[in-house]
């Protein structure tokens, strides 16, 4: 990534889903483990839980001044309310990642790509719905490659309470593998149906 190139990422959902933590981990991965600059900002309401919230991360090879995300290249949606609040702002070639059980979305604007994962359901199968955000982080890592697997894993381990490493790592791997499969299917279908 060169010094002027910027990647803008927005994660949105409802308060309590761990959206802010996920944004923080992503920013930390880039900033401390990838030799990149990162700014992480958040927007939320006064509610302790519920209400649309968003975590915005900008990653760049050089200094970042204006700290707001305007048109994200990567948009992650984890609730219907987040979709209605943030679902229309994206760049021309954005990747849109959704929790398919929580967000109803079948199309994205031309030029953009849609990737679906049942993140919350997968987390429930691991025994704790609370790690849906970490499943999503794994998915983001393999689908977008915005930071490496190793950087994200290190940032994840820095950010979680001790004693929860095993569960979080499982959740992370689950999302990561799910994303890898999707990317594989995508490239296979592309090679079978050349445009």
């Amino acid at each position: 990534m060169n010094s002027t190139q910027k990647t803008e990422i927005r994660l949105a959902g409802f308060g309590g889903q761990g959206i802010i933590l996920a944004g923080n981990i992503l920013g930390k991965a880039a900033s401390l483990y990838e030799q990149l600059q990162a700014v992480f900002t958040q927007s939320y309401g006064p509610e302790a839980r519920g209400g649309a919230c968003s975590a915005d991360v900008i990653i760049s090879g050089g200094a970042i001044y204006y700290p707001r995300v305007s048109l994200p290249q990567i948009l992650v949606l984890m609730s219907e309310e987040a979709k209605s609040t943030y679902g229309r702002q994206m760049s021309d070639q954005a990747m849109v990642l959704i929790d398919e059980d929580l967000v109803q979305m079948d199309t994205v604007p031309e030029g953009c790509l849609l990737f679906k994962i049942p993140a919350t359901r997968l987390a429930e199968k691991l025994g704790r719905k609370i790690v849906a955000n970490i499943v999503m982080l794994g998915f983001i890592t393999s689908v977008t490659k915005v930071v490496s697997y190793e950087a994200m894993k290190q940032a994840l381990f820095d950010s979680i309470p001790s004693g929860t490493e095993e569960l979080n790592l499982k959740a992370f791997e689950k999302g990561y593998e799910y994303g890898k499969q999707i990317k594989k299917q995508e490239s296979e279908s592309r090679s079978q149906n050349p445009e």
Binding site: L32, A38, T41, Y65, Y66, P67, R68, S70
Partner: protein, 383 residues
Amino acid sequence: MSDSGILTGEYFINGDEACAEGAIAAGCRFFAGYPITPATEIAERMARRLPQVQGICIQMEDEIASMAAILGASWGGTKSMTATSGPGFSLMMENIGLGMMTETPCVIVNIMRGGPSTGLPTLVGQADVMQARWGSHGDYEVIALSPSSPQEMFNLTIEAFNLSEIYRLPVLILGDELVGHMSEKVIIPPSDQIHQVSRVRPSQSPDGYLPFMAGDNLVPPMACAGEGYHVHVTGLTHDEQGYPQTTAQVHERLVRRLADKIRHNTSKIIQVEEFETANSEVMVVAYGCTSRTAREAVQILRSEGKKVGLLRLITLWPFPEERIRQVAQGIKAFIVPEINYGQIAYEVERCSQGRAETVLLPLMGGAIHTPENIMEAVKEYLP
């Protein structure tokens, strides 16, 4: 962690957390506060960290008491701090005045959100700038610093403590919600690279000691409780002994000294960062989170060949009058974006003395300017 309690290393933390680490690195060992968005993370971090360094963190019943507690702690000989946001800052005003009158070193952090009143608890504002200057009654000079990144929240918190110890007064950090809640890489240097200043103590014996007798630098050496000196501390106008003397003559001497100890040292206190200011015809003046947007705008405009620069105010008070006056002589206009309906813009206008136009770009709060907002305003003068 080193013996000093300083967490040397690289972290990805927000401005509030960086502020707390800066306080600890500066030697702060007492925090009293009342939680309030968007400053709560400072109290949380201090509550976790201070016990690790034999410090005390106490949640008070409100901000009035918090301010009183840090004044008391300072007179007990400890570097102390509180942190709040708009509504709490309003409550602190009376005791900030007490701190000014009693020349009590301490640091007050205000992470500004949208006001008036409870306003926008979770959203950004910059509208407490004049309150910081004039909020408590009576005449006094303040020092207020404006950080624009988590790293600067760390650095300027140390600076705030040092200034408060050097000049013996409460020093204000005027952060804003965006900088407080924004996370970036923060580098905490080794303890031997952190410059700590402590108040000058009396060198003479307790006999005949006059606690408010200042030398040429106008700052009296400070004896603290338990050191054997007789000290009387009052908000009433007092003589050099510290006893109330409510006469015009004593008041003239005291209040003049309180102001002059800052006024005579503005060149040592004031910091302004200059970007592309040489040969500029238009100058953007900005601070806090807004200065980041301004920097982006100026960078884009410079790449288009526009002669525009940026004065980033790191020190808001004392106001950099001298520099604004100089710059005004050679330019067409100052553009002042701020998240209020005009505060620093009026200072700029006052100091430019009609030599350059001053254009205010106000926002009421909750959102920040975009680079385009600032670029459009500049292009009015540089088409």
